[in-house]
């Protein structure tokens, strides 16, 4: 017999790490697609994640306010409004599902569209221009969404509706449903990245990464490939933003580490994960996400375990600051000592070995047959 009480405890303890795992896995997979496979440095990942989350979240919130015919200041009365909205979602699961799908579509569209738009000026130039442009665009958007009050109500932020959570309340296990939906999304996107990686397209992207001049010479449209990779992975990054607000619905814009999305957690950490696990390698990303979250949580647990006196001493410098120094240093160390990551990239075997052998034999056999035929003809 499984002890249901302890099972529930284990589930509740693993919910948040599980949700974080799904989010970081998806974001890192998109970084892997861009940087690992195609060599495109998207240093504006936070732009696409926050665009997806903020636009879909605030749009859904406004839409629900309109549908429920709520009157008043949408930011001043947001606590009242969001309770009203979430009650409605809990009572009407069809509406909740529709709202969730709507948010996903909006986020993917925003991500994809801005993936095209933000990279357009620099996509034909060298990678460093693209990196600078995307990084600058990301910082602009974060600063803008905090300063422009009609968007999210300023630094205080606004709650996004949480359709998945309130679908879960109908089942009675809201956290589990959220985790399940995020896990399903992560698995889907993993399978998609794996298929892209193994496909001819994946091999083209690697060729483009290793030598773009040569790939151009064999007729690959390098600019179009780079652009399409950016569009697709930015659309997925937008969806990742909706995944994040599904379990952390409060959206607080800004550039500080306390803000919902910032350059550290959403642009930098995915690069750490990809390089730690091994670039151009989806299994590596899976392992990298796991190891990163393990280090991250072990650090917090370790500090707690050292007792309150150490904790107080460390809080003078800020535990999060130490964590970031450690992670930044770790990335530099990996880049210098083990640039291939934990699981190095492997050449993809396109067909099974037996099939390859068969093809090879048929190719080798043919000239011999020809020779035999020629001998017959001459004799």
């Amino acid at each position: 017999m499984v002890d249901l009480g302890s099972l529930a405890f284990v589930v509740s303890a693993l919910t948040l790490p599980g949700e974080m795992f799904c989010f970081f896995l998806v974001v890192s997979l998109t970084v892997n697609l861009e940087f690992g496979y195609a060599g495109v440095p998207n240093f504006g990942k936070v732009l696409f994640i926050s665009l997806g989350a903020f636009v879909a979240g605030s749009f859904a919130y406004r839409l629900m306010v309109y549908l429920l015919n709520l009157k008043g200041d949408i930011f001043g009365l947001q606590n009242l409004f969001i309770t009203e909205i979430n009650n409605k979602l809990a009572a009407n699961p069809y509406l909740a599902v529709e709202l969730f799908l709507f948010m996903i579509v909006v986020a993917a569209a925003m991500g994809g569209f801005f993936g095209f738009l933000a990279s357009y000026p620099a996509i034909r130039l060298r990678e460093d221009y693209l990196g600078m442009l995307l990084l600058a665009a990301g910082e602009f958007f974060l600063i803008f969404s905090q300063a422009y009050l009609p968007f999210l109500g300023g630094a205080e932020g606004v709650n996004a509706p949480a359709p998945v959570f309130y679908i879960g309340t109908i089942v009675g296990q809201p956290d589990l449903v959220v985790l399940g939906v995020l896990a399903a999304a992560a698995i889907l996107i993993y399978v998609y990245s794996e298929r892209v990686g193994r496909s001819p397209l994946g091999r083209t992207l690697r060729a483009l990464r290793d030598n773009d001049v040569a790939s151009e010479a064999v007729g690959k449209d390098v600019v179009a490939l780079r652009r399409n990779v950016l569009i697709v992975s930015s659309a997925i990054a937008g969806i990742a933003g909706v995944m994040w607000i599904s379990f952390q619905p409060l959206m607080t814009p800004g550039t500080t580490p306390e803000a919902t999305f910032n350059r550290l957690t959403d642009t930098f950490i995915p690069f750490v994960i990809v390089i730690l696990g091994g670039a151009a390698n989806n299994r590596g990303v899976l392992l990298g996400t796991f190891v990163y979250l393990l280090i991250y949580n072990a650090f917090s647990q370790g500090v707690t375990a050292l007792g309150p006196s150490v904790q107080n001493a460390l809080s003078l410098v800020g535990i999060d600051n130490l964590k970031l120094m450690l992670i930044g240093g770790l990335l530099i160390f990996i880049l210098i000592r083990r640039p291939q990551g934990l699981i190095p990239e492997k050449p993809t075997l396109t067909m099974s070995r037996a099939k390859l052998k068969e093809v090879a034999e048929s190719v080798i056999a043919k000239p011999q047959e020809k020779e035999q035929q020629q001998e017959k003809a001459s004799s």
């Binding site: 940087f35 460093d128 602009f140 600063i143 550290l264 410098v317 800020g318 930044g328 530099i332 880049l335």
Partner: protein, 319 residues
């Protein structure tokens, strides 16, 4: 008396010019797009401010040498500990970019941990008595010369001195060696130039200038540890506008970006306030960083090699 908008715009123009020239210099010599340049500025801001507050200096301007040296030291550290080992391993451009990004985050969190958290919480009472903090030197009264704010004199003078110093430096033996190393590092090596040393010195100069820019920035504007997010847009924009291949281009690009950001947003704010009424201006001000971003986008679309690539003589004759 100069209009405060224009004087602010001039100050910001000078500051960003100093920050941009360093980034251009390191890009030209080592060919590394340095994403940690804004973080040198942050290290410098807090080192200079700490020297001023805890060293008991009379004015924050005396913290400038400390800020400059801290900026230079952080640039040298980045080059020696991160970039040189990586380039020796033959790392590609994207990997170098990521490494500088990581180094920038280490610098930022180092500053947040030591200066911002530790020094300020240990000296909380001392700072509370003084009434200002490491990130709010801009609230101190600035000295005045004939009714002109000190920063409005110091910043252009510093920029002018810097331009002269760079011009002179490029004419010394070392400057020739530097130009040779930029043109063709392998050939320079054959001729007996210590290219590594040239690179190291150029990184130090870049950090040093970013440090002066940072020290002055903290006098002009509030500067929390997240300042790097704010200034990085302007720095990249200025560098791209100048065309990453010329030091003077970096100076001009940085100045134009800093000046137009401050000036244009002020004009737009006033316009919005007059046109749409109260509080419209503060909403328009949210687009402030959109101006450097727009300059960068237009530059990339129209003249991707920057201002220095434009044939002005031909352009003016046509017009």
């Amino acid at each position: 008396m100069l209009d405060p908008t224009i004087s602010n715009a001039i100050v910001y123009g000078c500051l960003y010019a100093m920050m941009c020239v360093g980034l251009t210099l390191t890009y030209m010599t080592t060919k590394v797009p340095n994403f940690a340049h804004a973080n040198f500025v942050v290290v410098a801001i807090f080192s200079g401010a700490s020297a001023f507050i805890f060293g008991g200096f009379a004015t924050p301007y005396l913290g400038l040498p400390v800020a400059a040296l801290a900026g230079g030291a952080s640039a040298v550290l980045l080059y020696l500990l991160v970039l040189r080992p990586l380039t020796r391993r033959g790392a590609n451009l994207v990997v170098l970019m990521i490494a500088t990004l990581a180094a920038g985050i280490v610098f930022d969190s180092f500053v947040a941990a030591t200066f911002f958290s530790y020094l300020q919480s240990v000296n909380a009472r001392f700072l509370a008595d003084k009434g200002y903090y490491l990130y709010s030197l801009n609230q101190l009264p600035d000295f005045q010369v004939f009714g002109v704010k000190g920063i409005l004199i110091i910043a252009p003078v510093a920029l002018a001195l810097m331009t002269v110093a760079i011009t002179l430096l490029l004419r010394t033996r070392f400057g020739v060696a530097m130009r040779a190393a930029i043109e063709n590092p392998n050939l320079a090596r054959i001729l007996g130039i210590d290219v590594e040393r040239v690179y190291l010195v150029s990184w130090f100069i870049a950090g040093f200038l970013a440090g002066i820019g940072g020290g002055l920035y903290s006098i002009q504007s509030p500067s929390p540890p997240t300042t790097s997010s704010n200034i990085i847009v302007d720095i990249f924009s200025g560098v791209v506008l100048g065309g990453i291949s010329s030091i003077y281009g970096g100076i001009i690009g940085g100045f134009i970006v800093g000046f137009s950001e401050t000036f244009v947003i002020r004009q737009l704010t006033v316009f919005a306030d007059n046109y749409w009424g109260f509080a419209a201006g503060s909403q328009v001000a949210a687009f402030q960083k959109g101006i450097p971003l727009a300059i960068m986008i237009i530059t990339l679309l129209v003249i991707p090699k920057g201002l220095v690539s434009v044939n002005w003589r031909k352009l003016l004759r046509l017009g």
